[in-house]
């Protein structure tokens, strides 16, 4: 299968070579972490301090600054996982496989955060810890999908096979997510009527919106950082017999970096 002209393909292959990726990611990580921390600090300052309290929800709405970006990330990462998985499946690029599986645990974490913060936000708003609200329910199912991916990967011993399995599953999942989402919304409106939609659309003011966007961007950076860290580990584990890993290990300076 050739959809990509050769020079670009060759370039991608070279960039995707494990030692190159390992070295490059090592150089990039401090910068990424720096940008993330700055964005995070600005977002938190704006969200927790500068933004005024909501006229209905008071200060409890400030959970939005982690809840909503996490919910966005949970979906975004699943899609990234499916795309990179497909790339790995079609073009047999090892690195794409690694990015796919390294994304899974980060995505699952964000889904978990979205669920927990949603519940913590719901308690003062609805008076109960859990409501079968469409968004929370979808998020819960998404968490199951992530756990399925992670569980399948760990259950298969041969990691190359496991990557393929994960890619197939992620693709099936990504086709299903819109259907699941739609069905859950539909189910929710039927059974409860249009109840708690405050969580979806708080009357948002610019001073509230800017920190939200900052946090969303910060979380994107965080995802890249966490995914790269996990990918570096995964890469070393898979390539531990390769010459470049042996060389890397034997250099004492590297064992500390």
């Amino acid at each position: 299968m050739k959809f990509i002209p050769d020079p670009i393909g060759r370039f991608c292959h070279r960039m995707a070579s494990p030692p190159h990726f390992y070295a490059l990611s090592g150089k990039l990580l401090p910068w990424l972490t720096g940008i993330f921390l700055i964005l995070l600090a600005c977002g938190l300052y704006g969200g927790l301090y500068l933004a005024p309290p909501d006229y209905q929800q008071g200060d409890s709405y400030r959970i939005i600054y982690i809840h909503v970006p996490s919910a966005w990330m949970s979906l975004f990462i699943y899609i990234v996982m499916a795309i990179t998985g497909a790339i790995g499946l079609i073009w047999r690029i090892k690195l794409a496989e690694i990015v796919a599986i390294s994304s899974a645990s980060v995505g699952a974490s964000f889904t978990f955060i979205a669920l927990v913060t949603g519940s913590l936000w719901g308690k003062p708003m609805w008076g109960t810890w859990w409501v079968w609200d469409a968004r929370l329910t979808s998020e819960l199912i998404l968490l199951f999908l992530y756990l399925g991916v992670i569980g399948l990967y760990n259950a298969i011993d041969d990691k190359r096979t496991a990557s393929k399995a994960v890619a197939i599953l992620a693709l099936v999942g990504v086709v299903n997510i819109p259907i699941i989402h739609y069905s859950v919304e539909w189910w929710n409106t039927l059974h409860q009527g249009p109840t708690v939609t405050k969580m979806d659309k708080p009357s948002i003011h610019v001073s509230m919106l800017i920190p939200l966007l900052l946090m969303a961007i910060a979380f994107k950076f965080y995802y890249v950082i966490a995914m790269l860290q996990r990918a570096r580990l995964e890469l070393l584990q898979r390539e531990r017999t390769a010459a470049w890993v042996k060389k890397l290990v034997s250099e004492p300076s590297n064992s500390s970096s």
């Binding site: 199912i141 197939i168 739609y182």
Partner: protein, 224 residues
């Protein structure tokens, strides 16, 4: 020999095997009946409550029965090497696998359909809803087999595949459960259900077209 011939040869073979083994047909059916019998025992003989939750009970039980029967879809073929031979066929593997899935549905899904009216009566479901229940099962259970096949294909090579299989498959069953269960519930209340049935038809067609591909790919992956 043509592809249709191969498709029906596989279908016929699996049906003959099921008839010779028998337990494959009986087990999910027994499970289905038992689970539904347990609900009144657990909840209490309260006709009103049972009637209200009957659509959900029947559909969740059908879903679990379908899931438990999934393992038999590829297990014996994987263990004795028949699956290797199917994958080595020059015919498109996804079509051959579809033959296996259809056979599996005829053996495990269709019997549920036949016994469901009886169980619906047990739970006091009103007359008109039973027709809709059958229709929803007719449209929904093949989807369970089709989607389930992907999960089994991914886990058939694993020693402890059972638990992980349910984790993979159950979230994907959610839309079917929602629309089918809701259709039956609406019908019990005398409301129209065209929308739900149309959606179920769409889901069935979609999974019929799409599901065999990842199943075939996953089986190839499980072979090494």
């Amino acid at each position: 020999m043509s592809l249709t011939h191969a498709f029906f040869a596989i279908l016929r073979r699996d049906l003959i095997l099921a008839v010779r083994r028998r337990s494959e047909i009986a087990n999910p059916l027994l499970f289905f009946i038992l689970v539904i019998t347990l609900f009144p025992l657990g909840i209490g003989a309260r006709p009103q409550l049972l009637q209200a939750i009957a659509p959900g009970i029947i559909w969740v039980s059908a879903l679990l029965a379908a899931m438990l029967s999934l393992d038999s879809l590829f297990r014996s073929d994987f263990d004795d090497g028949s699956l290797e031979q199917i994958l080595l066929s020059p015919h498109p593997v996804s079509i051959l696998i579809l033959g296996k899935i259809v056979a599996h549905w005829l053996v495990t899904g269709l019997p549920l359909l036949l016994i469901a009216p009886l169980l619906a009566v047990f739970l006091g479901m009103p007359q008109p809803a039973i027709g809709v229940l059958l229709l929803s099962l007719l449209l929904g259970t093949p989807v369970l087999s089709l989607i389930g096949a992907i999960g089994v294909a991914l886990t058939v090579g694993l020693r402890r595949g059972g638990m992980i299989l349910s984790l993979l498959v159950l979230p994907l069953y959610v839309p079917v459960l929602i629309f089918a269960g809701n259709a039956v519930e609406m019908a019990s209340n005398g409301l129209p259900v065209t929308a739900q049935i149309n959606i179920l038809i769409a889901i069935l067609l979609l999974s019929l077209v799409l599901a065999p591909w990842p199943t075939a790919a996953a089986l190839k992956m499980s072979m090494n």
